[in-house]
């Protein structure tokens, strides 16, 4: 997928079917067209006969909990390994600042703060390396809570007790601009006062307060009405990291060859539009890198029975 198309999709445009294919991809699509009906159903059944692995989810949850516990414990036991919270911190003395929190502060305060520039520089490099939205699924504590809420939502949805009312994905881009303008015009870090990422991170480290009621309210809303509302349609932190990681060396790569196009990956994905490429005839090439909005959570990799989706570090294969 081209960088521009990937950014457009992240900002809210509907993903497009490619206009042309590489000869190799064309041949594969053609070969798949020959496999029809019962034979295709048999292939899919056979592929899904084995048990579903949760490898990447488990590694990710362990990492997320570990990361947040480092913050909590290093304050609890006063070891000063990591000081602060996810909005800004010092890691063994090095400044780190969340990109969007830093943007809000500088827009509201209207001063370029040197420490923040240093802090965002470190964070920028780190998350560029991993792929920006890796922050969301591997570090953000609200993501974990929302994932649990999502599980409940899906369980209830399967029993027809709740229905998902999706929003337009462009909502996030519009809100991004609005929150930026609000910070400039009002002179306050408006978004910070409702940011579940900051609230949950501080609640873990400094103890919960009333603000957690807001977060719990959001979670309940996500269970009942809109699946993963905050992470999908609202959070400007996610969009910021998405922009940072758009050209990152680490990403999920799709391989067309063995894919059965049954769509299990899209069902588990937080941002299924990035996996549009896994639909029949949507892959322009045999190997396609998944778009910028991907959080590298690995759920699709776990869900894929044919190994068509994998983590990849750009250029590493050539080196080895």
């Amino acid at each position: 997928m081209g960088l521009l198309a990937s950014l457009k999709t992240m900002l809210g445009a509907a993903p497009e079917r490619p206009a042309s294919y590489t000869p190799a991809a064309e041949a594969m699509h053609e070969a798949k067209r020959q496999v029809k009906g019962p034979e295709r159903a048999r292939q899919i059944r056979a592929a899904h006969a084995g048990t579903h692995s949760n490898k990447w989810r488990n590694i990710r949850w362990a990492t997320l909990i570990f990361l947040n516990m480092v913050f909590v414990l290093s304050f609890q036991f006063d070891v000063q390994l990591v000081e602060g919270s996810l909005t800004a911190s010092r890691v063994i003395g090095f400044h780190m600042a969340d990109l969007y929190s830093a943007i809000q502060v500088m827009l509201a305060y209207k001063v370029i703060l040197i420490n923040l520039v240093i802090g965002t520089g470190t964070v920028f490099f780190l998350w560029w390396l991993f792929g920006g939205r890796t922050f969301c699924s591997w570090a953000c504590p609200y993501h974990l809570l929302a994932e649990i809420a999502e599980k409940i939502h899906l369980m209830l949805a399967a029993r027809r007790m709740v229905v998902d009312y999706p929003l337009h994905r462009g909502t996030r881009s519009v809100l991004y601009v609005i929150f930026g303008l609000l910070a400039v015009v009002s002179g306050y870090t408006v978004y910070e006062s409702i940011s579940p990422t900051g609230i949950v991170s501080r609640a873990l480290i400094y103890g919960p307060g009333l603000a957690m009621v807001w977060v719990l309210g959001l979670l309940v809303y996500e269970v009942v009405f809109i699946r993963r509302m905050w992470c999908r349609y609202i959070c400007p932190i996610g969009l910021t990291y998405g922009l940072v990681g758009a050209v990152s060396p680490m990403r999920v790569k799709y391989n067309l060859e063995n894919c059965l196009h049954e769509g299990d990956c899209r069902k588990v994905c937080l941002v299924p539009h990035v996996l549009e490429v896994t639909k029949k005839t949507y892959a322009p090439d045999v190997d396609v890198a998944i778009g910028a909005d991907c959080t590298r959570c690995g759920l699709c990799i776990d869900a894929c029975p044919t190994g068509s989706l994998r983590f990849e570090v750009k250029g590493l294969n050539k080196l080895l």
Partner: protein, 252 residues
Amino acid sequence: MTDEAPPAKRPPLANPKTRRQAMRSITMGTAIVGASLFGFFPVTRKWTPRLRPPGAIDENDFLAACIKCGQCVQVCPVRAIYLGDLDEGFGVGVPYIPAREQACDFSCDAVQCVLACPTGALSHSISKKEEVHMGLARLDRPNACLARKGEGFKGPARPAPFTGVHRYMEIDRWKPVKLADYNYDLELCDLCVRECPIADAISLEPMSGDPADKRRTPVVHQACVGCGMCEMICPTEPAAIVIDIRRKWGDV
């Protein structure tokens, strides 16, 4: 000649599902922005005036510049700094000092919270406790003041269950002691003067020309930085002396 305008192009029929989704998105977006703007009320109406940590810049700038990370909370040796909650609107996650519960007594000497602040919301131009300006102490309830009644004081200034701590140099340079565990035996109560961390910020002055008159009154001087130590240590309930947040010398 009758020039009829060409018939207006009929807009493409919107899919009702798409239209509903658009309406939902607009409604939800508005609701979220509305929720975020709720933060204006507590701030502009001053629902919860707060004593900010040493070095805090002008209140509105402070709310903007603070990145709400709590690093100042972590470095304070007496844990005097707390973070604002939802009822403070844009002050969510912004540090304050609840002086009566736990005042800043400058145990750290070098204004650690200022050094920890990554954004300069606690101004880095401050390097000594004497340069701090958080507010000014004021004798709020003169009739309750023990010194003004000529009374002494025995026992802990703030008995249990009070959990606030204070660094007593003569006991331990590094480890603060619970006020509830420290007993005083004073002929005339001078706690606010005795425990004030700033030189010449407060003194006890005679109330009459009569040398036999034991009564003294606390007088706050210009050196006062408003740290809140006197407010915490005052044994009357509520405190006879309080901090006027952000008041400057000469203000009414």
